[in-house]
């Protein structure tokens, strides 16, 4: 039997690694011709992914913007050394000036400095919460998919979490543990840990479901059977064979996870439940500024743009990754 995809005109004869054997030798750059060709450095699939990713203009723009924002908030304090907490009551409610390019707030604190500080928190929340939800989601998904015995109970657990009404619970959990954590870790670290935990713990279910589905599919792939026939034990099977192959959905979840975490944090700020009110995050800055929307519109615009741009860029990155990681699309 020939590979049925091979002659299929709908996709054309060039088709990424999935069916490279149809037109094998050198169909993709870096592929090799007949045996005996010159030795070439190894070229992992990620290069193909990157090649495809590069062709997605939105994703490239998104990656660029995201990097700029990320570098901005990381390096910002060195470039713009005003203390975000410093009060200059004489300069309150100032519009954009040379001294305060983004203006100041009602206490005369520098908005640019607060944007940078807020960005650090928002980004840190986004990235850590995403990592947490990813770790939990992947662990649950992999275990459920790989071990038939755990599948039932873990999936029930996932359903349970999916069935919990999240926003109210989020609010309750924050009310519940905020002060205890604050007592242990101090006001900022405590609430940071809590918010990250709460967002992470309530957003892993989709990842778990997707990963489980992929693991189930990969488990049926012959290379897993091949590894089993070699006698590879379960943990090495998971880390060597399963995990690397479910990376694509995990990475897409990751990008979307950052975006939702940032949005969730800002929604919590809106409901008055995020970080302490003097602790800047983009969500908090935006919330505080909505009252001044008419007087000082720039105060809304800065955090609004920052949140939207970050989430937008991350979403575009996710979109590009999804395309790039999909072997059916790659090569188009």
């Amino acid at each position: 039997m020939t590979d049925r995809l091979a002659d299929e005109p709908a996709r054309g004869p060039d088709h990424g690694p999935d069916r490279a054997h149809a037109v094998p030798a050198g169909a993709v750059p870096g592929g090799m011709a007949v045996e005996g060709g010159t030795p070439a450095p190894p070229r992992s699939q990620w290069w193909d992914v990157w090649d495809q990713f590069k062709t997605h203009k939105g994703a490239m723009a998104g990656a660029f913007v995201f990097l700029v924002i990320l570098l901005g908030v990381i390096l910002g304090p060195w470039l713009w050394s005003i203390d975000p907490q410093a009060i200059d009551i004489r300069a309150r409610n100032s519009g954009p000036t040379l001294a305060h390019p983004f203006g100041t707030d009602q206490l005369g604190r520098d908005t640019l400095a607060r944007m940078i500080a807020g960005g650090q928190t928002s980004m840190a929340v986004g990235i850590t919460a995403m990592l947490l939800s990813l770790v939990v989601g992947t662990a649950v998904g992999v275990l459920a998919g790989y071990f038939r015995r755990l599948d039932g109970i873990l999936m029930r657990l996932t359903d349970l979490f999916l069935a919990l009404p999240l926003l109210p619970l989020l609010l309750v959990i924050i009310l519940l543990f905020r002060d205890r954590l604050r007592a242990v870790f101090g006001p900022e670290t405590g609430i940071f840990l809590l918010i990250v935990f709460v967002i992470g713990i309530t957003s892993w279910m989709q990842t778990a479901r997707i990963v489980r589905g992929d693991v189930l599919a990969i488990k049926e792939r012959e290379f897993v059977l091949a590894a089993k026939s070699i006698g590879t034990p379960a943990h090495r099977m998971i880390f060597r064979h399963i995990l690397p192959n479910v990376l694509s959905p995990i990475m897409v979840s990751a990008t979307l996870g950052i975006a939702t975490a940032i949005i969730t944090e800002s929604a919590l700020s809106f409901l008055g439940l995020g970080f302490p009110s003097d602790y800047p995050t983009w969500g908090r800055l935006l919330y505080d500024a909505t009252d001044y929307l008419q007087q000082y519109p720039e105060r809304v615009i800065w955090p609004g743009i920052a949140i939207s741009l970050t989430v937008l860029s991350v979403n575009y990155i996710g979109d590009g990754l999804r395309d790039a990681l999909d072997p059916r699309i790659r090569g188009r």
């Binding site: 039997m1 002659d7 054309g12 004869p13 060039d14 037109v23 030798a25 007949v34 188009r332």
Partner: protein
Amino acid sequence: MPDGAQPVLDVRDLKTVFRTRSGEVHAVNSVSFDLRPGELLGVVGESGSGKSVTMMSLIGLVPMPPAEMRGGEVLFGGQDLLRAGPAAMRAIRGKRIGFVFQDPMTSLNPVFTVGYQLCEPLRRHMGLSKAAARKRAAELLDLVGIPDAARRLSDYPHQFSGGMRQRVMIAMALACDPEVLIADEPTTALDVTIQAQILELVKDLRQKLGMAIIWITHDLGVIAGIADRVLVMYGGQIVEHAPVRELFANPQHPYTRALLKTVPSVRGDRAPRLRVIEGQPPILTAAPDACPFRFRCGHRFDRCDAENPPRFPTGPAHDAACFWDPATDAPRNA
């Protein structure tokens, strides 16, 4: 089959190119052939040889982009299909040219009943009423040997076995009494005993209906049993063309000859060791300015690298695209 009859389909110099990120792929390269009324034209070749793309290109079923037609003409009933508009093509597809695809598991829409899918071409092309179409659909299912046809019209594709689904596909292709049936590896996904059933069915239907058939396959055994005339394709080109007995008895192209030798049989003598064609099929990214088979050919010489050989006539209704003449074991001097 009478040689002199007017061909139903005349393909001249067909070229299809796929534009990809890594450059152009010349999937079909100057392919010419004709199809005569009532005959069964077999097309053999390995995956990637361009046999399917050729047939899909004829009637615009390759997605454009990434595919692109680079000239040639396809004459069908006096009309050049490559220059016909989309509407004209739709009027031909399914009505005058029917198709059967390789994988009966995925080629039927899973959410519609078999009856609905069968009625679609009938209602569209023949303008039948719902009831009339259904009646005709039942007749068609009966024709392709599905028992209890009328009742099974309301079943979904997944309720049929693979062989039965392929019968449904055939019934669908035959629904409007097409002049041409193009079958793209229709038995490849099936088991041998089921394949035998389908082959019997097609032979039977040919006798009853008398349409011309193009049968794409990589299985020389199937070709031997069913075809009148054979095209051998390699690297996006036709390398040999001959009546079926002539081809098997007297292959002219080194590729055809090698291919025939590599295939073992369940009958006759058993060779102690299989013959192989060394190397891999070619990549089609380069412009076709040399013989595509040269890297695997035992008779390669300078000219093979410099020129793409044209199809030399080697006998009555027999030609091969090769500079080497097996009769003399020497280069042709054309």
